[in-house]
């Protein structure tokens, strides 16, 4: 049969049964990408609506992990108190993703699987070392988010976040053409701990400077292990700009992004360390 049919399974087991059916599967959750008029839609196989699968939705703490069902909406992420305490970078990214209407429909799994270069949820998930629970016709397994590649017939069922105690500090910032309802031209997530005032275990990931998120190791090295000082921040700023130069050496947006990323970096550091970005610490130019 060479046409598209729709399935509305109610359980993961029912999805597994569809996976052994042999026909191409196309998963749809919030539909905020696929249903936009004019986008190419699949012509054959089964369109699997994930909206009825209760197991795919919700946020829970399971042992040393936070487990987020892949069909959990972005709005739900943004308002979840556990996430706000344990991984504020993800809460903030969710709160700034798309518009209210988009957030009410779009899901975290969809944001990961669509893998847009500007996807706002990816940098926070990368800095947090998220792992994805993947299911296909061979069964279920875990992959690191940095190793994940979307492919037909594979379904993200959950996102697992490590939940160390105490929780690290984390933060997110984005730049689009305006503050809300905007696609990121640049976004940035950071995660760190502070030990006696030193910044340690710093992880920085930027979006929209390449086809997928970029871990900014130079910038991590520039600030990691240091006390927050104008000097350290200047080194950090230079490293951030250098990272942009390396990532997009020929793009016309480079000149703007190499400076703008410093603004985002300072905003996130300031928020994580309880400062205003207007604090004199951050006054130094890149």
């Amino acid at each position: 049969m060479n046409m598209l049919t729709v399935a509305r399974p109610r359980s993961l087991d029912a999805i597994s049964a569809l996976m052994s059916d042999g026909r191409p599967l196309h998963f749809i959750a919030g539909g905020t990408d696929m249903l936009i008029a004019g986008r190419l839609r699949p012509k054959d196989g089964i369109l699997v609506d994930l909206g009825q699968v209760a197991e795919l939705s919700g946020i829970s703490v399971v042992g040393q992990h936070i487990r987020i069902g892949a069909a959990t909406t972005v709005a739900r992420l943004a308002e979840d108190p556990v996430l706000a305490a344990r991984l504020p970078a993800l809460s903030q990214a969710a709160a700034e993703c798309g518009a209210v209407q988009i957030r009410n429909r779009a899901t975290i799994g969809g944001n990961i699987a669509e893998a847009a270069p500007a996807a706002d949820l990816l940098p926070p998930l990368w800095v947090a070392d998220a792992r994805l629970e993947i299911r296909d016709h061979d069964g279920s397994r875990l992959v690191a988010i940095a190793d994940y590649i979307a492919s037909p017939g594979r379904l993200i069922t959950a996102i697992l976040l490590p939940d160390p105690d105490p929780a690290p500090k984390s933060g997110f910032a984005k730049l689009g053409s305006r503050r809300e309802l905007t696609i990121s031209k640049l976004n940035l997530a950071m995660l760190m701990r502070q030990e006696g005032g030193r910044i340690v275990d710093l992880r920085i990931v930027a979006g929209a400077i390449g086809p997928r998120p970029q871990r900014l190791k130079l910038a991590e090295a520039a600030l990691g292990g240091r006390f927050l000082s104008p000097k350290a921040l200047q080194l950090f700023a230079k490293a951030l700009s250098d990272e942009v130069d390396t990532a997009i050496p020929t793009r016309s947006s480079r000149v703007w992004k190499r400076r703008a990323i410093v603004g985002l970096g300072y905003d996130v550091i300031a928020a994580m360390t309880g400062h205003s970005p207007r604090h004199p610490l951050f006054a130094g130019a890149a």
Binding site: I183, V255, W256, R259
Partner: protein
């Protein structure tokens, strides 16, 4: 009674917010079929052939029309009466497409979805022609840009030169000469309702057109010219309109729908998609300007020398009026003893420009007000002070057309606005040096009231008392959503002693309404409002005569108030009067008046903006805003404030975000969707304060004059000036994208 100067809610407001108002896309008719356009992907090409076989094979497809199968009549979409002379360069579908998004063909099908699918199935063979994609390229190559079709397609399409006083002597004697280059973008109206039209056959072989338009008579004239259907056979009705801002002033779909309805004998509707509205309708013309200002040390403008180049796009439309319109606005703001102006409009192979709130005024004010601020900086004079030293006084005569500006109160807007904004204290504040830098900016502006002395500026109104005591008001009125119907009803009600909602306004209908120029040129309140006031006065006289008979009283002693005709002897409601007259077989009181304008006073404004610029990211936040407006008298202060708020929203976009961004290499429009074309949304709007200067315009109804267009005119320069103040830069290419701001640091 008590209707003027009152915050009367929109008379159609409840219908709108209740979702009851039927817009064109909500309307349907038995047997209605749907059209979908095929648009050119090329900026300039000959349409060699068209293969519609696959489209015609789709079930439900009725037919395909293109240049070989429609009348090749050239028209100009900007005309507003039959017989108006204009550059006729546009056709429903032409053998040569002249911009990306130009119309190639139309498919008609049983449903809109089938029509769209069929349009995609059509293949077109193009032979590319050399394309002119920038105004510079057009200016550098004057002459024909078509193929032997002059005078159409010949650059420049208009060239206005004007000299007043002795500029050369003034420049030679100046203490300071400052030259500034300013460019303004191609922006788009972004009305919530996309362009749409419905046409259907009527009795007697006529064609009815229902259109969210700004003038039913303009639609009639344009459709007649484009299709060859006699204007008497066209019956045009205005539908409720979901925003226009000038974007629907020019009929785009109406000729095609009328032609198809006549050809097929069926109702035909076309509703454009958002992308089609961007690429296939109208935009604000882009301008490149250069202004040299000769200043005295004391801050007086001695002379200006202005060169403006306007890109009107692929079809003339009304673009040949732009250089003159810009000059008309330029010379009404400041008392400048010597002026030289050189304005050209050129064709390019880009989306056509057309009417858009202010019609050249935002462009020329951006040039003049940014230039003046930079001159003030070099002189070390406060921007408010330099404007105060040069603004025209009331009753000044402007030097181009020799018209009085009327009771123009620019100086009041400036001085009272500056006080309310606490300008002096904010200006004295020490300059920020860190990452976030605040600045303030001011811009003054002026705008016209109607079309006088251009095309005959006249309007006719009929009013009559209806059984039941309502009063019917008939004129070709086109409320574009800003509340002109409510304003006019207030004016009529004030005179007749009624409430605004007791005035029944007939939507514009070319069969029923006397001619009016339409909603344009900031003429509704000032021109049509005065016509309504005069007609209401005449009707009130008729009613008083009748009521005097009924009350057995002298007409001079009858007053109309609270819905009653009253005298010392007694009173009766207008409903009772109507009943009394009907009982005696009398015709109910009626009046009609034609009002011809005999002047064109200026409205004025001064806008004050505070911004904060993030020097790392280049983002500008407008943090505070005050708009002071000389409106003569606000018939409805709430609607006036609404107009101003909306004008500021458009202006912030013009300053900071909006540009359809036509690629100068390919002619493709990069920002042809709301994902790519950025408007200022709620979060970007600053706290807005409005200060109304109400000193009365003697020639306006109850002293009122216009606010509709001017509300957006000073916004962009006020914001640009604030950014330049914050950063000590000379930014002058709009919009101020973050990239441009960082590059200037």
């Amino acid at each position: 009674m008590g209707q003027v100067h009152q915050r009367v809610p929109l008379i159609d407001g409840a219908e709108k917010v209740g979702g009851k108002l039927q817009y064109l896309a909500d309307m349907t008719m038995p047997g209605m079929v749907h059209g979908a356009l095929v648009l050119s992907p090329r900026p300039h090409a000959r349409v060699v052939s068209l293969n519609a076989a696959a489209a015609l094979a789709l079930p439900g497809v009725i037919g395909v029309w293109w240049h070989e199968t429609v009348p090749q009549l050239r028209y100009n979409s900007s005309i507003w009466y039959v017989g108006q002379v204009a550059l006729n360069d546009e056709a429903m579908f032409a053998p040569v497409v002249r911009h990306v998004g130009d119309r190639v063909a139309v498919v008609v099908a049983r449903t809109a979805a089938i029509a769209c699918a069929a349009a995609r199935a059509i293949t077109v063979e193009y032979a590319d022609l050399p394309a002119i994609l920038t105004a510079d390229a057009a200016a550098a190559n004057p002459g024909s840009v078509g193929e032997g079709e002059a005078p159409a397609f010949c650059n420049p399409i208009d060239h206005v030169k004007f000299v007043h006083g002795n500029p050369d002597a003034a420049f030679a004697a100046a203490d300071l000469v400052v030259e500034t280059l300013v460019s303004t973008p191609r922006s788009h109206h972004c009305a919530v309702e996309p362009h749409a039209c419905l046409a259907y056959p009527e009795k007697g072989g006529r064609i009815a057109i229902v259109s969210p338009c700004q003038s039913v008579f303009a639609v009639q004239a344009v459709v007649a010219q484009a299709t060859g259907i006699a204007e008497a056979d066209l019956h045009v009705m205005k539908s409720p309109i979901g925003g226009s801002f000038g974007g629907k002033a020019e009929p785009v779909l109406d000729p095609i729908c009328a032609f198809l309805a006549a050809t097929l004998g069926l109702p035909v509707r076309i509703v454009l998609s958002r992308r089609e509205t961007f690429v296939a309708t109208r935009t604000r013309s882009a301008m490149q300007g250069r202004m040299r200002i000769a200043m005295s040390r004391s801050g007086r403008i001695m002379a200006r020398d202005t060169v403006a180049l306007v890109d009107v796009g692929a079809y003339s439309t009304g673009g040949n009026y732009l250089p003159g319109s810009m000059l008309q606005r330029l010379v009404r703001l400041y008392d400048v003893p010597a002026e030289r102006y050189d304005g050209r409009a050129v064709y390019t192979n880009t989306v056509p420009s057309g009417a858009f709130r202010g019609y050249g005024s935002p462009q020329i004010h951006a040039l003049a007000e940014i230039s003046l601020d930079l001159a003030a900086r070099e002189l070390g004079i406060d921007p408010v002070t330099i404007r105060a030293r040069n603004l025209v006084a009331p009753d000044a005569i402007e030097p181009w057309q020799g018209l009085s500006i009327g009771n123009g109160r620019g100086l009041d807007c400036l001085s009272r606005g500056a006080a309310m904004f606490d300008w002096q204290a904010r200006w004295a504040r020490r300059r920020d040096t860190g990452r976030f830098r605040r600045g303030i900016g001011v811009a003054a502006a002026t705008h016209i009231n109607g079309c006088y002395p251009g095309e005959e500026e006249a309007t006719s109104v009929r009013m009559r008392l209806l059984p039941g005591g309502m009063v019917e008001l008939v004129s070709a009125l086109h409320d574009l959503g800003c509340g002109s119907d409510t304003t006019l009803a207030q004016i009529a009600a004030e005179v007749l002693g009624l409430k605004a909602h007791q005035i029944g306004i007939t939507p514009a209908d070319s069969d029923l309404c006397p001619y009016d120029l339409g909603t344009r040129a900031s003429r509704m309140t000032y021109i049509v409002g005065e016509a309504v006031r005069r007609t209401a006065l005449a009707l009130a006289g008729e009613i008083r005569v009748r009521a005097a008979l009924a009350l057995n009283e002298d007409p001079g002693r009858v007053r109309l108030e609270h819905g009653l005709a009253r005298s010392e002897e007694g009173e009766m409601s207008l409903a009772a009067l109507a009943d009394w007259m009907i009982g005696r077989g009398q015709t109910l009181p009626a009046a009609s008046e034609t009002y011809r304008a005999s002047g064109n006073p200026s409205s004025f404004a001064a806008h004050f903006a505070e911004v904060e610029v993030d020097t790392f990211t280049g983002r500008v936040a407008v943090t505070d805003y005050l708009a002071a407006h000389d409106v003569g008298l606000a018939i409805n202060p709430m609607l006036v404030e609404g107009q101003i708020h909306g004008g500021i929203q458009i202006g912030i976009g013009y300053a900071l975000y909006e540009d359809v961004a036509i690629d100068p290499e390919t002619g493709q429009m990069r920002a042809d969707s709301f994902a790519r074309y950025t408007l200022a949304n709620a979060l970007e709007m600053p706290p807005l304060k409005v200060l109304l200067v109400e000193e009365g315009e003697p020639s306006g109804p109850f002293g009122a004059k216009a606010v509709g267009e001017i509300a957006t005119v000073p916004v962009a320069p006020a914001i640009v000036n604030a950014v330049n103040h914050a950063l000590n830069t000379r930014l002058s290419d709009l919009p101020l994208l973050p990239e441009r701001i960082l590059a200037a640091l």
